[in-house]
Assembly symmetry: C2
Homo-oligomer: 195 residues x 2
Amino acid sequence: MPALLSASAFALFAQKGFDGVNLDQIASHAGVTKGSLYWHFRSKHELVKAACTHYYRHYQRQINEEIAHLIDPGERLRHTLAVAVRTCLLDEANRVFTMEIFTLAVHDPEIRRGWQQFYDSVRCFYIGLVKAASLAGAVQTNDPEQAVNLMLATMEGIKLRALFEPEICSSEHELRVLRGLERILGMTPTPPIAV
Amino acid sequence: MPALLSASAFALFAQKGFDGVNLDQIASHAGVTKGSLYWHFRSKHELVKAACTHYYRHYQRQINEEIAHLIDPGERLRHTLAVAVRTCLLDEANRVFTMEIFTLAVHDPEIRRGWQQFYDSVRCFYIGLVKAASLAGAVQTNDPEQAVNLMLATMEGIKLRALFEPEICSSEHELRVLRGLERILGMTPTPPIAV
DNA sequence: GAAAACGCATACTGCGCGGTATGGTCGATG
DNA sequence: CATCGACCATACCGCGCAGTATGCGTTTTC
């Protein structure tokens, strides 16, 4: 039941924002009442943290599954980017939730540390991909870490643009954005692969 | 007095967030009371919009002043970027306020439209700079609009990173970020200029 | 100089919602 | 079968705060 409540919290937070949802709604969404909710969580803040953890786990599992079947380092990197871009442009819940986290993180050190940790693991993951792809000759960068940092920043920015310009959430723009990220990473241009 | 209240609202919002500040505090900051505040603004929402307008105006005036004395198109672009990067990394109030706007814009169409309009004007401004610099030979891009879009996305992402990694707010990182943005725009590398 | 309009302060209301107090049900334990 | 604790529902509290009612001094208008 705690897991179900976390999932409900995430779903509602990612739809209406932290301040747009009250505890009654979350409990109701999980099929229980507020009294039960407070048996598992001490406060709304605890529930927010639980929703964050839910998000982190979900994200990392998804990205691992997506490239589990690929062996070629270049393809692994390329496919990871493609999935990430698609998520940025199409997964509105993701966009909304991360925006909420960011704003909260500004004023809440605990939430901020959680996101820092998550983001570090994502960065390490990408650096590993880039280094492997570099050895395989699919990438030409003299500073993988710097390139990944720049690319990740761009990706976050893309998410913001998607928020304000729904028209860029098309497959045409998807490709263009992907090309941009690949250029930032120093990837050697190759024909697109199916996603 | 409305202008003073807008400025107070902006200052406090940019420090504690929209939900971290109440109307009494804003009125007090402006040296009046809530009764007076409601004489000039019909609701807290109106005040938020006023704070946004305050921000838009301030931003555009500042950027225009910064490059007013420059004539060479390449230098104009380079200096604009330098100032923008410095703002992203050092101006914490700016970061906090824009984050707040973004989160609000997700759920509020009116705020969203306001930001879209502002962002469009910023984009046009940059495209103009890039095209001029391109004619002057300081930039090599076949698609200025696309390049500016990517660069602006990266800049927003940098702001986010600055939020979570205070250590990148150093002059060393500032230069590195600047180089990254210039590369995205396709600028021909030249020795740095004093800011 | 009366009256209207403006600009502000004081005091109050209403309510949404986070949090609590309490009691009921059901399975495990001995 | 008595008891204890995990799990959940109902009902309630209280507080922060957006928004309102009202009144008072000062300026403008004719």
